[in-house]
Subunit: 150 residues, 2 copies
DNA sequence: CTTGCAAATTGGAATCATTCCAACTCATTC
DNA sequence: GAATGAGTTGGAATGATTCCAATTTGCAAG
């Protein structure tokens, strides 16, 4: 069973929602509380299960709605890039990706070895990573249609 | 219509496949050629459409198979993390994620401001990014069940 | 208090990428 | 030229997510 929000967390919720013109509801409180209670990067289904313990009537659609709302007003982050079709690229050189939110295009960004080095160095002892994925998202002034096809 | 593979690319394909005990087939050649022809990070559906121009009978399942094979033998990369349920986290501080391939657990990794700085600096002029996502994947000796729940 | 409205919620249907599967093809080996 | 096994195929199944139309709720104005 999920404990109630602290006064502080509740205010935070209330303010963030208010900023984008939305209200605190019982469902939103519970979903938010679930996220704060156990920070294990739950899936929607996880959140749904946990929240239902406190509010058996809660629907999955509402969990989706709440989470979307929270992401929208910056209360939580989505860990996986938003779900889209998987994309493939034959560029095997280390590089990051930049996804233009306006056009949907993905550009390769060269990745200097120093950066890869320093990234590896932030991993705590005992963490071994074969793969690092870096992706930016934002807008670019696509001057010429390069990067995208070559 | 997709041009044929160059001698060099074909050898590359042949060798990579051979290394993991697999053969070059007409379908694989075409799918590989499609990937090399236009490096715009196509989706499976994109690849399917393009490849079909050269081989009308090609099936979608085969495109999936080919791409999986290529990823398996290191010929191409998957740009989106493999498709899984979206996950959420209320940790708004800048941090990277480490996904343990053995357990599936996702750990937050602190992200020093210098790194964020230097990452931003590799973006070419004209690219503005609000969001950077960094994720490692590998194995960790999960000494204690921390990070994952707190 | 009621009435009425807009925002939220709900359950179920629809969508879409992906996976699964059983049948079929094809090159090779015996 | 039959057996073997990898590869391919189309269609069905799955699973996450979105959509939608029908309530319900929270509040504000009368």
């Amino acid at each position: 069973m999920i404990q109630k929000l602290t006064e502080h967390d509740r205010e935070n919720l209330q303010e963030s929602l208010a900023t984008s013109g939305q209200k605190v509801t019982a469902q939103r409180e519970i979903v938010f509380a679930v996220l704060l209670a156990k920070r294990d990067h739950p899936t929607v289904e996880d959140v749904f299960q946990r929240a239902r313990e406190s509010m058996p009537g809660l629907s999955l659609a509402t969990v989706y709605n709440c989470l979307e709302t929270f992401v929208g007003c910056g209360l939580v982050r989505q860990v996986n890039h938003e779900r889209e079709s998987t994309r493939y690229c034959p560029n095997l050189a280390p590089h990051a990706h930049f996804r233009d939110e306006a056009t949907g295009h993905v550009h390769d960004i060269e990745l200097p070895p120093e950066i890869i080095q320093s990234l590896r160095s932030i991993l705590p002892a005992g963490f071994n990573s074969e793969t690092i994925e870096i992706s930016f998202r934002g807008r670019s002034q696509e001057t010429a249609p390069r990067s995208t096809s070559n």
